[in-house]
């Protein structure tokens, strides 16, 4: 049954974000603040980079602030000014990405000023941004969120996020797929990947796809077919999921950005679940010197090796 979700704290959160951005910009603590601003369509938002304290009032936070802004801090997106410390508005899930990026030498904590959002969730899709925020329209990732209050930020508005208990959709969907035969799973993904057009929105919004030269763009050798044919689509999504294994912390931007509605985060969540089972590893909670696939123990499971 659809239930409305109380998003009223976001009004106060917006005010607090504006005030903090205004302060850190005017005090020269940061050279820029990456945040969200409202846009033309009713209820819509856009990522924005503010360098002028007077423009801090443009910043907002609403359920339509879906983007993981961490993507703007990775090397692949070179347009953000790289001089000095940068302020960034982060939800708990976005922060996990930043933590991962720090572990992979892409960011330094001292170069960031983190404005955390007490988050009750965001919309699953902003194709129609003027959508009521309910138990139906909330993003699936928010249903299983364990980071409503981002930890270790420089500033977090004092509002307490109160979130309704919702059924975990990814877990249920993974269970459903795992119960299938391999042939049924293959058929499921074949149908899903048949929609893929290789627009690479999944890659471009992913904070962890920071390679300067994607393996899948290479042609000497062509490791993955670049054309959007069924074979190349499968290979791309398998390689993408593998490269994010042990790194993806579940911001689900790939899935949200996919114009063809392919449930990409399902692959990421499945792999996260496996790594938790195998190595008790969960991404995004602390800056680790090594990830689960760049380290080992002598006692690692090898029951699959005959």
């Amino acid at each position: 049954m659809t239930q409305p979700i109380d998003e009223s704290i976001y009004t106060a959160v917006t005010v607090a974000i504006q005030a903090e951005a205004q302060r850190i910009l005017s005090e020269g603590l940061v050279t820029a603040v990456v945040g969200y601003a409202s846009a033309r369509r009713k209820g819509s938002t856009q990522p924005i980079v503010i360098t002028d304290a007077a423009l801090a009032e443009k910043l907002i936070f609403t359920p339509a602030c879906v983007n993981n802004l961490a993507v703007y801090l990775t090397k692949a997106k070179k347009e953000i000014p790289k001089t000095g410390r940068i302020g960034i508005v982060v939800k708990g899930c976005d922060l996990k990405a930043l933590v991962g990026l720090m572990g992979e030498s892409q960011l330094k904590r001292e170069d960031l000023y983190l404005i955390g959002v007490p988050c009750i969730g965001v919309l699953g899709s902003i194709i129609q941004p003027d959508t009521a925020f309910t138990s139906d329209s909330i993003a699936p990732k928010c249903r299983e969120c364990d980071a409503h209050l981002p930890l270790g930020c420089d500033f977090v508005p004092s509002q307490q996020p109160i979130t309704p208990e919702l059924e975990k959709k990814y877990a249920a969907e993974i269970d459903r797929l795992e119960a299938m035969t391999p042939a049924e799973r293959w058929a499921y993904w074949k149908e899903q990947f048949s929609k893929c057009i290789k627009c690479y929105a999944c890659r471009q919004v992913c904070p962890f796809c920071f390679c300067e030269q994607c393996l899948c763009d290479r042609n000497k050798p062509q490791m993955v077919e670049t054309t959007p044919r069924p074979a190349g689509n499968f290979a791309w999504h398998i390689v993408r999921a593998m490269h994010l294994t042990g790194r993806c912390a579940g911001c689900a931007e790939c899935e949200r950005a996919c114009p063809m509605d392919i449930p990409l985060n399902l692959l990421n969540r499945k792999m996260a679940k496996e790594l938790k089972d195998l190595y008790e590893y969960e991404a995004g909670f602390e800056v680790n010197a090594k990830g689960p696939l760049t380290m080992f123990t002598e006692k690692d499971d090898q029951s699959f090796i005959k």
Binding site: I48, K195, I197, C199, Y200, A201, Q222, T226, T227, P259
Partner: protein
């Protein structure tokens, strides 16, 4: 000449065409996503949702083979694709914005080089357009001078009428031929009133003014603020009914393989990446600027119209909320 076809007869028409071995491409649901795809039966037809991709791929496939090669010893042999193998197609339920895109593509693919692949597919396809009865605030066909009842690009144009069924307008010989072949399914005249058409909320944009500004502002600080947020995916270009850039790649092994043509997007970093390593559009705002320039200036310079039909797909599907209608509107006010 206006005629009428009931919903049931439309279904019969489509099923008949399918049975005759024609490929009927129309909006259908694929794993929960509305897309123009070949129908297995008329039941699959979906008319109440705008497909997430446009109808352009009926003529300009997402990916197509253009030749194949084989090597033996020191010899290489090449086999061309036979365009006679392209299937006869009826493209049904095409919204005005998607149908109006087809003549725009015609111009490009039959300009200095006649693209035999595009033109052959085009020749073999009959387009059945559909008047649009629903709009959201991303729709802006009226802003670029089109309308929900635009018949341009359609061979036969359907307008939903009160009480069900469609009033049909033949717009070309192909359309006429279609009606004639299956004349029993069409009623002679349509008495019902057309359903109210969609009303996009965007105001008409002065495209000449936009072009005028673009003519003189290749370098402008505005590009940075417009496009810094662009993350460089190809979603906007790939869902666009008129974007038509493509890439050609060879795929296969040392012994044999195919040369393939597939969609490309100016938002990609690789789009203008030279073999030397140099990239003239080295930053995302420069790439996004090209998208606007091509749509509202370069295409106009060459063909005298705008490379945009206001379908609004790129606005809805941009992962970072870039709003081309808003951008152009702002430019028009400069």
């Amino acid at each position: 000449m206006k005629t009428y076809i009931s919903e049931q007869n439309l279904n019969t028409l489509l099923d008949t065409l399918i049975a005759e071995g024609k490929r009927v491409v129309a909006p259908r649901m694929n794993a929960g996503t509305p897309l123009y795809e070949p129908l297995a039966s008329a039941d699959e037809l979906v008319t109440d949702q705008l497909p997430k991709r446009s109808g352009k791929e009926a003529f300009f496939p997402l990916c197509e083979d253009i030749m194949s090669y084989e090597k033996e010893g020191q010899k290489v042999s090449i086999t061309d694709i036979d365009p006679a193998r392209f299937p006869e197609t009826v493209l049904v339920g095409v919204r005005s914005c998607d149908a109006a895109a087809i003549p725009v593509l015609d111009a490009v693919f039959s300009w200095d080089y006649k693209d035999e692949f595009f033109l052959e597919r085009r020749k073999k396809t009959t387009v059945v357009g559909l008047a649009c009865t629903m709009a959201d605030d991303a729709c802006f066909c009226t802003a670029v001078g089109l309308s929900p009842a635009e018949t341009r690009g359609s061979d036969l144009f359907l307008t939903p009428v009160e009480g069900g069924g469609y009033s049909c307008e033949t717009c070309s010989e192909k359309g006429e031929a279609l009606v004639k072949s299956y004349t029993a399914l069409f009623a002679e005249a349509c008495s019902s009133k057309a359903l109210p058409l969609a009303e996009p909320q965007t105001e008409k944009i002065d495209l000449q003014k936009v072009k005028g500004w673009l003519d003189n502002h290749f370098e402008d600080p505005a590009w940075d603020s417009i496009a810094t947020r662009c993350v460089g995916c190809g979603a906007c270009a790939f869902v666009c009914p008129v974007c038509h850039c493509f890439d050609i790649v060879d795929e296969g092994t040392e012994k044999s393989g195919k040369r393939r043509k597939n969609w490309d997007a100016c938002g990609f970093w690789k789009f203008t990446h030279h073999a030397s390593g140099h990239n003239p559009r080295d930053q995302q705002p420069k790439r996004y600027r090209n998208r606007i320039m091509h749509k509202f200036k370069y295409y106009d310079d060459k063909f005298g119209e705008t490379l945009c039909t206001g379908c609004g797909r790129c606005i809805r599907l941009c992962p970072v909320g870039i709003d081309i209608a808003g951008i152009v509107e702002e430019i028009s006010k400069k």
